[in-house]
Symmetry: C2
Amino acid sequence: MDWEDQLARYVAEIEAGLQAFIESLEFSDSAELRSMLRYHMGWEDDLGGGKRLRPALTLLCAGACGGDYQSAMPAALGVEFLHNFTLIHDDIEDRSTTRHGRPTVWTRWGLAQAVNAGDGLFSIAQLALLGLVDSCGETVAIRAAREMNRTCLHLTRGQHLDIAFESEDEVALEAYLAMIEGKTAALIAYCTSTGGLAAGADDATVARLGAFGKALGLAFQIQDDFLGIWGDPAVTGKSAASDLLARKKTLPVLYGLKNCAEFRRLWEDDDPDPELVMAMARTLADCGAAAYVREQAGAYMRQAREALAELFPHPNQDARTLIALTEALLNREM
Amino acid sequence: MDWEDQLARYVAEIEAGLQAFIESLEFSDSAELRSMLRYHMGWEDDLGGGKRLRPALTLLCAGACGGDYQSAMPAALGVEFLHNFTLIHDDIEDRSTTRHGRPTVWTRWGLAQAVNAGDGLFSIAQLALLGLVDSCGETVAIRAAREMNRTCLHLTRGQHLDIAFESEDEVALEAYLAMIEGKTAALIAYCTSTGGLAAGADDATVARLGAFGKALGLAFQIQDDFLGIWGDPAVTGKSAASDLLARKKTLPVLYGLKNCAEFRRLWEDDDPDPELVMAMARTLADCGAAAYVREQAGAYMRQAREALAELFPHPNQDARTLIALTEALLNREM
């Protein structure tokens, strides 16, 4: 089977599982709360709710370790609900008004109902995950639940830093990397390692799967930072240098603020027009920020690939799909 | 031992356990997040963070069932962290600016950081609870974790209704009771039933403990509604008829809106002065709202007492303390 077909099949099973899980829950008089969750998950219109790549990674890692991917399904549902709970709250915290082309939950139902709906989805994520007890037994379910909540705490630590950085003049590069490790990479690492755990892999394999996921998450996020400034608008679907326009303190910006006086001067202009923003992007590249960011992303890409090669020297079908998906995620034009 | 002494000893152990649990967690670069949680829990000043009655109920129920109260400690810590996570988010949702005599978390650190800190505390609650695996084994830990998340979902359903009611002209009495069942009683029921579960009680006992907790929670909340209008300011520490001043749609108000045209007319005055509010309180009482609310609270009080009498016909020390605490909670002047 073509890897893209296998991925599409897994994603379809995940989508059906997510819907069935929400339908199985009792909402009685608070049917509107269920509607809010269905809306956020993308089931109330045709716009879609996301690519479901995190839970797909979980299923693929389970299968790649020789396990039955279906035994990992409760974990896959759990991580996708968890991811979506964080999105509902992130949109509040970032004051984002649209996601997937539709108004965010807080924009549509107000702040109070949205905070509360996110909390509900967090509980649902835990309930879905605990379904592992039926497919993998109590020991695995407990370990996965503990690790999920350690991961959540790591996520909130990363998010705490991200919010704090908004109002800080200077952010150290190491602090930034710690932030994206918590905010992005920790959850990917959880997705990959839990797939192995559900498949009954040994501790060393589970840890290596986690290291793979962490490296993949960091590489992907740093690439995103690159593309947010130098990405081709025709490919990214965003305006040129969109992160500079939005004044996001991403890795290239932090590098420039530290190492390039000319960039610092341009950055201090509070209301940059598109022309100035293009000049900023060029200045940043000239002072070595693009090369630095490429190098950082490259190091994590190597780590991710090395981990995969070590984990799966004789890849089965799931491992081949996992490797192909990883390459597709990493081979964005930089 | 005097029941109040035993309760104080349990509360002191809970307080120490809560602090030790937070200290055991890794916060590394996000030390401020830990400070936020410590502040909310009441450990950064002398104002205190709450009476810790919910976790005390858990320990007492475990001991009353003949178990070692210490084996239930992870559950006790879990329910108190859970309760506090809901308080951080409730304060945001209700726009409350003070709690326990100090600014609420969102007032002090802003909305974004407060939503995020609440999420962190939710994860911590789950981690604390899962410590049951060491004291009570995997089966109990899994069951308690599933039930905790079902309870959380019930809480968010109740909170959803509460927020929705703010903007509704008419709220049916049954819908109001469903709301407080979710918002207040479900967590108390979880506290009491999980104590029994941790003590190894049989399913029927665990269910009866839950029924006791639910009845206690409903009786207490309905009493609160009574006291919010007719309570003695010298005893409640609030202004007379404070709930009417705040225009809260509590049970007596909903009864009055349904059954008393004169009250409805007074209620429609958008900006009532203290004198009008006293007239409203009298009108409400005259049309039978006070008697109705007393009767409702009385029915749940009877249920709570009957459940206790059935559960503990030969009460041990913990059961005697549980009974005495229940009486102290229920015997507020109505």
